[in-house]
Symmetry: C2
Subunit: 273 residues, 2 copies
């Protein structure tokens, strides 16, 4: 059993396992964003680091059909950061918080050897929360946008290259407006953080179902992590509406399969630096 | 300006600055508990590390007059921890959560070089929240218990000694029952995490007041951090009630001063490893 599974199993109860936990009409989510685990200092500017730390957390709230409202920041920062560097980090947090209407309400700051960020979001659930559970035989499986760029960007960085500020690996594109619009037709969803193949396997395992593929996806589509596109499912009767909304929001929609009896086994491996 | 101040200032708004942030009738708090910042592996067992990480967070909720209900765990764990070591950590989280009626509802786990823990608590506010703000001239200042043991324990550990499992540095004593009982008479409060002198200076600065001392405190009482005793204030007319409750809960109560016009300047320094 891998370590993450071991830990999840140990703490599992009826509230765990989704991108966020639902308490009354609030969604609570928490993601870590640690130096040398999620990023390297030479790859992203400090403002970009702070902004991406916020975005990967906001992504969790969106896929739960919740509107992020408040954030707590846990910041472990190296002693040698100077005032300008701290201001760069601040700018990243504050600009992204402002863009999404989030108020930073507290947190904790300590000195550390590297930049390790922990963000907790308190998000208001819209009409009803969307969970990972809820998939039934016959539901269509889809993801938003195009997958692969994040891993391609990472590979370039690892070879010493650099990326444009708007590259997905630097600044994930979140599908807030489109997803809120279709949310009442969505039966289950999660964001794609560890690669479609891995995340799909989690979704199918949880719902004890398999998939009948409509198309062949390539290596990058299957294994690129940190995409923060949305993996979701819906009933066939809503296909037309969802396709229309994708068009309206100028979004590529990939309906790649259908839930069937059976099970899906993950055969790839997660990428690590 | 020190780094913490710089950061607090950058993110400050009307909701920041207390041990927790109040949203409707909930209190949200977050404390980091990082290896080589807050503890060394040779000082505490893994179960003790997890338990203390929970306790320092629960302390924040108690001083806000809130009852901790839900926790999110952010765990960055070294790859070389084995299954038994992970179970030891789990035991610490779960036993302490159970003791205080807390449900662990989610979080995030990653591989890291050291054990870095970030906990977020969602706590239900009892009748009303208690803030750091609220001190007025004439209010009596007090702390619970005895201060100094935490720093003495730390010094012993730094010299290569070891501490009993029940030592305060290993397992802070929280004053939940007493504090909830007197809460409606408390005008402001915070826990003593950085030493009475430092924390008192924060309280007085925030309330723009000074202190008239009733007694002389020694070095350890003033400068011992991570005590998690409670620094609080109340009106003179409630002194008798509070003293009676301290007796009832077999707790030492130290009424050490009175709020006066003026300002208090912190002259000591925080202890760091």
């Amino acid at each position: 059993m891998d370590k993450e599974k071991l830990i999840i199993k140990a703490f599992l109860n009826e509230l765990n396992g989704d991108d966020g936990a639902v308490i009354k009409n609030w969604c609570l989510s928490k993601d870590l964003f640690f130096e040398n685990v999620h990023f390297k200092r030479e790859w992203l500017s400090l403002e970009q680091i702070a902004s991406k730390a916020m975005l990967v957390n906001i992504s969790d709230a969106i896929v739960m059909n919740a509107v992020p409202r408040y954030a707590l920041l846990g910041l472990a920062l190296p002693k040698n950061l100077n005032e300008n560097q701290i201001k760069d980090l601040q700018r990243g947090f504050l600009k992204t918080a402002k863009k999404f209407g989030i108020k930073i309400i507290g947190g904790d700051t300590i000195s550390n050897e590297k930049i390790d960020i922990s963000i907790t979001l308190l998000s208001k659930i819209r009409k009803k929360a969307i969970y990972r559970k809820g998939l039934k035989i016959g539901h269509l499986l889809a993801f938003t946008g195009e997958l692969g760029q994040s891993l391609k960007g990472l590979e370039l960085l690892q070879k010493g290259g650099s990326l444009e500020a708007k590259h997905r690996f630097i600044k994930p594109k979140l599908r807030k407006d489109f997803f809120y619009k279709i949310a009442n037709k969505v039966v289950c969803a999660m964001d794609i953080s560890d690669g479609l193949s891995k995340d799909l396997s989690r979704l199918l395992e949880l719902n004890q179902l398999g998939i009948s593929w409509f198309k062949t996806l390539d290596f990058y589509e299957l294994y690129s992590g940190e995409e923060y596109e949305i993996l979701f499912a819906f009933e066939k009767k809503d296909k037309e509406f969802i396709e229309k909304m994708a068009q309206k929001y100028k979004l590529k929609l990939n309906i790649f399969g259908q839930a069937v009896k059976g099970k899906y086994e993950f055969r790839g491996k997660e990428h690590h630096f």
